[in-house]
Symmetry: C2
Subunit: 202 residues, 2 copies
């Protein structure tokens, strides 16, 4: 067993270290959760707001994240991981239009959950780090569009890159429209799906 | 005649004042033109970059614009004025689909000309000042959509606000896609028009 031969003193120190590490992990989780929650509605949420919501001091926060940008990068990394996990579970086989409908609905929910995190990220991080957030979802959309174009379901008289941009613009536009109160979060997924399919239909 | 009774001294001072005012106007025009040109391609263009491109010193620039945000507000105000002027000349009568095609093409050219100014503005100004930039163009689009919906040319199973958001998202998405090099500026207006009309078609 690891550490079985330790002296009482070093065991004591190690147990203190473990407690400190557990504290640190708890604080990091609180900070990231608070940052995600606040940034999703207000891209300008400050370090003070986030520390307060996480119930930690500024010094503790800066001990774990040396800048607001570093914290936002962590929030974005986790958002990407959760997005990839959610999309990996989707069935994208069968009729391309129905499959795209399922993919758009899932994408909508993720985009809306992370909301203004995208805005915060685009203000605080370099563009290539933002683009990375879309790489994996884009591959899925692209594969599906290719299949639908080959099957004659989606129009082929436009570049596929343009069609991907249109879908992204519609999804992000819907999120912004919900935040402005122009459409409800309930009607958004259907509007996103129907509008995207209409724009793509052969 | 105004100033006819002035002494020689006050006339001399007045002529100096006029020269100073003419200098100031020239500098302001240079600064705003340089800011528009630089911000259209790089939303993060700095005050130093702008002063250099305008061939004026930082002190002169700050004498006319007390902050980067003030300068950006002036750039945006002029962009709005030019946009309204260009759109006011458009013929929006006749077939709603063709009229919307003309409006979208003009909107595309304006959006692309001012390019990243929108991004710079959204980072430096409060959201309500950004929204104002879209108020007048939006009224035109709305009136045309209402006419096309009434004529049975555009679908009515979606909120008109949503359809306006979709058009804005497609136009801005096209500008971003051109800046990323995914589509060319030449093919953009046709893609914007065809995609928007497909999304709206009854």
């Amino acid at each position: 067993m690891r550490g079985a031969g330790m002296t009482a003193e070093s065991a004591g120190a190690s147990s203190q270290d473990r407690a400190k590490r557990a504290d640190a992990v708890r604080n990091i989780e609180s900070i990231v959760a608070a940052a995600t929650r606040l940034l999703a509605v207000d891209p300008d949420a400050s370090i003070n707001d986030i520390a307060k919501a996480a119930n930690v001091g500024r010094v503790t926060l800066y001990g774990h994240f040396d800048s607001r940008a570093t914290l936002i990068r962590e929030v974005v990394d986790r958002a990407i991981a959760q997005t990839e996990e959610a999309l990996a579970d989707l069935d994208l086989d069968g009729d391309p239009r129905e499959a795209l409908g399922r993919l758009l609905e899932a994408t909508w929910h993720l985009t809306h959950r992370f909301g203004a995190v995208v805005v915060a990220a685009s203000q605080a991080l370099p563009p290539d780090q933002i683009r990375r957030a879309h790489d994996e979802p884009v591959l899925r959309v692209r594969a599906l569009l290719e299949r639908g174009r080959d099957a004659g379901e989606f129009r082929r008289d436009m570049p596929i890159d343009w069609q991907i941009s249109v879908i992204q613009a519609i999804v992000h536009g819907a999120s912004a429209a919900v935040h402005r109160g122009e459409i409800s979060a309930d009607e958004a997924p259907v509007l996103v799906r129907d509008t995207s399919l209409a724009a793509l239909a052969a």
